[in-house]
Amino acid sequence: MIHVEHLQKSFGSVQAVKDISFDVAKGEVVGLLGPNGAGKTTTMRILTGFLRADTGQITIDGVNVMEESRKVRQHIGYLPENAPVYLDLEVTAYLSYIGTLRGIAKSELQTRIRKMVEACGLENVVGRIIGQLSKGYRQRVGLAQAMIHEPKILILDEPTSGLDPNQIGEIRNVIRTLGRERTVILSTHILQEVEATCSRAMIISSGTLVGVGTIEELMRQGKGKVSYIVTAKAPRERIHEVFSKVKGVEFQEWMTSEDESAQRFSLRELNGKNCAEEIFHAAVEGGFPLVELTRERASLEDVFRELTGA
């Protein structure tokens, strides 16, 4: 559906995108992940035809974006960052404006608007000026705008930024529902978002793709790192002494403890074998109580941190 090859884009001396290539299949929901300023927005702007790439090829549904931009735009719905919508227009008037510019026939327009109002949960704000709406509703109006022409591809730039947890949940639901019948690319720097909505993630860091795959694949790329969070009631030297003898684990770092009489720290698992029992026995032999012992698998956060080099 979307084929991107060796994309490059510079602004002056700043290289925002350095050689990015990827493919997105029909019906996929792909998350574009990366720290702020990694090149997510630039990549999306090039995909939508808003910016021109310096070099590289993009084909969407077999059509070249650079050469036939307007034809491609017909099939793309785009929600830019912060959902920029006209604040002085009424909700349905805005949708009708965008719909008309999208070339939707007059006879069809009302049905489409009604459909969008329903799909994006805008029933309560119909008749109101967009400028009076909350951030969450503006975001939904932005989504409705992006989908009014029933595009095959949806490109959403940080669709949930600045929303409260309830609103985030609602927007994610809308995206998930959409993902069933459309190809969606969304960008975010919130990892839970990718876990909650995307079937695949692409991690971008300073303009290059550093990791591509399903969530599980990316987690495995984190070298299957497992660590133990331990809290023990003993002095630090004693802890070091006791746990350095345990085979298969290695001391990682001290952590902050809520209880002043106890030390909280983490141990890294080395051989992929569960050593929780050994840790317990070591503590017993050392003669001090364990207050906490948790085995943790590397989270997407860790993978993200590792890949983006933060």
Binding site: F11, R45, T48, G49, F50, L51, R52, R70, K71, R73, Q74, I76, Y78, P80, E81, N82, P84, V85, Y86, L87, D88, L89, Y97, I98, T100, L101, R102, G103, I129, Q145
Partner: protein, 238 residues
């Protein structure tokens, strides 16, 4: 074409969703009427020439005020990004903005008509210069507007856009005046005169509608809108 009409309507009505349009129209009409009637009763002639000769000066401030926010706002809000990713040509967006703002200027001019009518009611009015004057004003408004829009596309700051537009419009207006062209040698004087907005207006306002003047205005508008298109493309699309 249909898309240009849609955008023109949107641009035009967007002035009316806030009090801006009413403030513009009121201020313009009060000024236009005041300057005219101040001298009208003193002279005691049924002549509206003074009305048309003062308009270029009022336009000099009125039109940059209308145009200053057109692109600045769109870029600041980020709404341009949506507009420029719709299946619409960039030039259609530019034309939509121009025509929408132009419609407001036409509305303003329309409301000066009662004044002309009241003069015609008082005595025998020569309609030639009146019709010529209005046509001249429309074209001049178009040229000022194209200049103002182009400058609005260059900066996100509306106040800078306003002041620069006044300055540039003023330069173009003064180019043809004897003050500037008279001081030059015989070679540059006609050239300066040709590029001056004011000179072309004077000849139309006299009631002589010359195709050269019309052509001048149309090419001024076309040139600045083309410049506008290029500026907004390089600024926004990079």
């Amino acid at each position: 074409m249909k898309k240009i009409v849609t955008m023109t309507k949107r641009e035009f009505f967007s002035y009316f969703t806030s009090p801006i349009a009413y403030v513009y129209l009121m201020t313009y009409l009060v000024l236009a009427n005041w300057f005219f009637f101040r001298g009208f009763f003193l002279v005691g002639q049924t002549d509206v020439r003074s009305f048309f000769s003062i308009q270029p000066w009022i336009f000099l401030f009125f039109i940059p005020a209308v145009s200053m926010g057109k692109w600045a706002e769109e870029r600041k809000q980020g709404t341009l990004e949506i507009l420029f990713t719709l299946p619409v040509r960039d030039i259609e967006v530019v034309l939509g903005k121009f025509l929408g703002a132009f419609a407001l200027l036409v509305t303003a001019l329309f409301f000066t008509f009662p004044m002309v009518m009241s003069v015609a009611f008082l005595g025998n009015l020569d309609w030639g210069p009146v019709i010529g004057g209005y046509i001249g004003l429309l074209f001049m408004a178009g040229a000022y507007l194209a200049i103002g829009l182009t400058i609005s596309s260059m900066t996100e700051n509306q106040i800078i856009a306003f002041i620069l537009a006044v300055v540039v419009s003023f330069l173009f207006f003064m180019l043809g005046s004897p003050l500037l062209s008279g001081a030059r040698g015989s070679f540059v004087a006609p050239m300066f005169q040709y590029f001056g907005i004011g000179m072309h207006f004077d000849s139309i306002a006299r009631g002589v509608i010359d195709s050269r003047d019309i052509l001048y205005y149309l090419s001024m508008i076309a040139f600045f809108l083309f410049l506008n298109l290029n500026v907004i493309q390089t600024k926004a699309r990079k």
